[in-house]
C-alpha cells in the first residue's frame, strides 16, 4: 500500500504558526478550506445539517480560544477531523444511547443482506426495475454500512471519500497507522463480501 507521509502542503506549517500567533486571516483560510469536509464528516454522525454545523463551529471556536497552545503533529486536517469526531461522539452519547445497541445479528443486518440479494439477483423483470433496483440496492447498502463498527466505517470514509493517508486516519482515530491498515483490510473484506452479493 502506498504511504503518503509527505502529503503536507508546504504552506501548512506557516499557517499553523500564524494561527498560533493570533492571525485571524490565516484562521479564516483554515476554516474556509476545511469547513465543507468537516461538515460532511460531522453529518455522517449526527445526521442533522444544523447540529453538524454547530459541531464544526465549536471545534474552531475552541481552537481559536486555545490557539497559542495548538500542536499539530501530522496535518491540521487530521487534527480537525479528530476534534470533530470527538465532539460528535460526545454529542451522540448524550443524545442517542438506546435503541440501536441491540448488538450483532439484529434483524436489520439480516434484512440488509436479504435485500441486497433480492435487489441484485432476484430483481424484478426488465421493465421498470432499474429505478426500483437502484433504490433498493442503495437502501440495502446503507443499512449494511450502518451496521459497520464506527471505526471501520470512518476508516473507509476517510480513505475513499476524503483521500486521507493511513497516518492521518490514525490521528483522527487516535490509533496507529498499523491499526488503520488492519481496519482497512477488514473493510476490504467487507467490501468484497458486499460485492459478491452482486456477483452471484
Amino acid at each position: 500500500m502506498l504511504e503518503r507521509l509527505a502529503n503536507v502542503p508546504d504552506e501548512e506549517p506557516t499557517l499553523v504558526a500564524r494561527i498560533r500567533a493570533g492571525d485571524e486571516v490565516a484562521f479564516q483560510s483554515l476554516y474556509l478550506t476545511h469547513h465543507d469536509g468537516l461538515w460532511r464528516f460531522a453529518y455522517t454522525y449526527v445526521r442533522s445539517r444544523d447540529v453538524a454545523e454547530e459541531l464544526v463551529q465549536e471545534v474552531f471556536l475552541s481552537l481559536w480560544n486555545a490557539r497559542a497552545s495548538w500542536e499539530v503533529t501530522t496535518r491540521a486536517r487530521a487534527w480537525l477531523f479528530a476534534a470533530v469526531r470527538h465532539l460528535a461522539l460526545n454529542h451522540l452519547r448524550h443524545e442517542r444511547v438506546v435503541s440501536r445497541a441491540h448488538g450483532e445479528g439484529t434483524p436489520s443486518a439480516a434484512a440488509a443482506v436479504a435485500t441486497i440479494e433480492s435487489a441484485t439477483m432476484g430483481a424484478p423483470p426488465a421493465s421498470q426495475h432499474d429505478v426500483v433496483e437502484a433504490r433498493e440496492l442503495d437502501e440495502a447498502v446503507a443499512r449494511a454500512i450502518a451496521e459497520l463498527p464506527e471505526r471501520r466505517r470512518i476508516a473507509m470514509t476517510l480513505r475513499w471519500k476524503e483521500d486521507m493517508s493511513a497516518l492521518e486516519i490514525a490521528t483522527v482515530l487516535g490509533t496507529t497507522p498499523e491499526a488503520v491498515r488492519v481496519l482497512l483490510t477488514r473493510a476490504r473484506a467487507d467490501l468484497s463480501a458486499l460485492l459478491q452479493h452482486g456477483q452471484r
Binding site: M1, E24, Q28, Y31, L32, H35, D36, W39, R40, Y43, R47, S48, R49, D50, V51, E53, E54, V56, Q57, F60, L61, W64, E95, R96, V98, S99, R100, T106, P107, S108, A111, A114, T115, T120, A134, R135, L137, D138, E139, A140, V141, A142, R143, I145, A146, R153, M156, T157, R159, W160, K161, D163, L184, R188, L191, L194, L195, G198, Q199, R200
Partner: protein, 368 residues
C-alpha cells in the same frame, strides 16, 4: 450468470488503490474493464460509495463564507450567543402586530418531491393567509382574533406584540385572541408550540390547549396538543407554569392531561429530549408506532401505511432527525425489525417474511 473463477478477480489491493485514487493509468484501466464486465459489481460499488458517508441523502452543506461570518462574530463575542436563532430572513412579516416567520422548508428528497409539490407551492404564501385569516366571529369592538397555521413540513417563528416568541411545530395552529395584550394574553393552540414568554404578572399569558389551560409564571415552556388519542403535554424548560388540574410546574417538570381528564406530573425530566423538535430532532421513548408515524406525517408529509394493524402498538425508542424521511423510516423499520415497502408514492411497513395476508379486514388492499 457466467461462472468464471478466480482468474477474473482483481489483484488484492488494487480496488483499494483505485478507490483512494492512487492507481496508475494502466491499473485504473484494469479496474474499469473489470467493472464494465460486471455491471452488478459496479452498481454495488457505486452504491457503497454513495452511501458510505451518507452522500445520497444528506442536505447541502451550509455556505462556508456565511458560516465563517457567524464564527467570526462568535470569536469576538465573549459570551455565547443567547439564542440559536433559526429565524430565516425569508420572513413574511405582514402583520405589524405579530410578525410571522416561516422557517425554510425541509429539504425534499427527489423521490418524495412529487408527493409534496402542493405543500411546497403553498409555502410562500402561507404566511400571508395565516396572518390574514380571521375568525368567523363578527368581533365588532375589539380587534379580531388572529390565526397562525403551519402545514405539514412547515415550522414557524412568531413574535407576538408583547415580545413573546413562539416556535410552532409542523401541523399546528395558534390563535391569538383579539384582546391579547391589554389585560390578559390568551392564545389557543392545536398542535405543538414552544413559548418564550415575557412575563408580566399584571396580564397573565395563558395557553389553552385541548382540555388544558397553562398559565405562565415567567418562563420558557412547550405545549403539545395534537388531539387524536394523545394527552396534552406541557414541558417546562425555565421558570414556572401553572397547569389546570395539575398545579405548579417548575423547570424540568412535565405535566400531562389525558383525554379523560386524568392529570399527571413528572419531575426531573431531561426536557432537552422532549424539546429536541426545536432543532429538528424527534425523540421517542417507547412510543407506539402509530404515534411515530403520525409525527413523521407532520414533519415530512408522507403517509406511511401499516401492512398489519397489530403493528400500530409496537413500541419505538430512538431519535429521528427531520432532514431525511428515508433515513427516518429506515431507522424505525430497522429498530422494529420491519421492512419498508415502497410502491410508487405509497410507503408501508410490514413484517419481515410477512408474506401471508393478514386476516385483519382493515389491512385489505386499498384502491389506488
Amino acid at each position: 450468470m457466467t461462472d468464471r473463477p478466480g482468474s477474473d478477480e482483481l489483484e488484492p489491493g488494487l480496488l483499494d488503490r483505485y478507490l483512494a485514487g492512487e492507481c496508475s493509468e494502466h491499473e485504473e484501466a484494469v479496474v474499469r474493464r473489470h467493472l464494465m464486465a460486471r455491471p452488478d459489481v459496479a452498481r454495488a460499488l457505486a452504491a457503497m460509495l454513495r452511501q458510505l458517508d451518507g452522500e445520497a441523502t444528506r442536505p447541502a452543506a451550509p455556505n462556508a463564507s456565511a458560516s465563517w461570518e457567524v464564527l467570526r462574530r462568535r470569536m469576538h463575542a465573549p459570551e455565547p450567543v443567547a439564542q440559536p436563532s433559526r429565524a430565516a430572513p425569508r420572513a413574511a412579516s405582514i402583520t405589524p402586530r405579530h410578525p410571522f416567520t416561516l422557517l425554510p422548508a425541509r429539504r425534499v428528497s427527489r423521490w418524495q418531491r412529487a408527493a409534496t409539490i402542493a405543500g411546497v407551492a403553498v409555502l410562500g404564501t402561507a404566511g400571508i393567509y395565516a396572518a390574514r385569516r380571521r375568525s368567523d366571529l363578527p368581533a365588532p369592538t375589539p380587534r379580531a382574533e388572529e390565526s397562525f397555521v403551519t402545514a405539514n413540513r412547515e415550522r414557524a417563528e412568531l413574535r407576538l406584540s408583547d415580545g413573546t416568541r413562539v416556535h410552532l411545530a409542523p401541523g399546528s395552529r395558534l390563535r391569538v385572541a383579539g384582546d391579547f395584550g391589554e389585560t390578559k394574553r390568551d392564545v389557543h393552540l392545536d398542535g405543538q408550540g414552544y413559548f418564550q414568554v415575557e412575563h408580566d404578572a399584571r396580564r397573565p399569558f395563558t395557553v389553552h390547549a385541548g382540555n388544558a389551560i397553562a398559565r405562565d409564571l415567567g418562563t420558557e415552556f412547550a405545549v403539545r396538543s395534537y388531539g387524536e388519542d394523545e394527552a396534552v403535554q406541557v414541558v417546562v424548560r425555565k421558570g414556572a407554569v401553572v397547569l389546570s388540574g395539575v398545579g405548579r410546574l417548575g423547570a424540568g417538570d412535565v405535566g400531562r392531561i389525558g383525554a379523560s381528564g386524568v392529570a399527571s406530573l413528572t419531575h426531573g425530566v431531561r426536557v432537552d429530549s422532549l424539546l429536541g423538535w426545536l432543532d429538528g430532532r424527534l425523540v421517542f421513548r417507547d412510543a407506539p408506532l402509530s404515534q411515530v408515524l403520525a409525527e413523521l406525517r407532520r414533519w415530512h408529509d408522507v403517509d406511511v401505511q401499516l401492512a398489519d394493524s397489530s403493528l400500530a402498538t409496537l413500541p419505538f425508542t430512538g431519535v429521528l432527525t427531520d432532514d431525511s424521511f428515508r433515513s427516518s423510516i429506515d431507522l424505525v423499520a430497522a429498530t422494529l425489525g420491519l421492512r419498508v415497502r415502497r410502491t410508487g408514492r405509497r410507503v408501508s411497513l410490514e413484517r419481515i417474511g410477512g408474506l401471508t395476508p393478514s386476516p385483519d379486514p382493515s389491512a385489505a388492499p386499498q384502491p389506488r
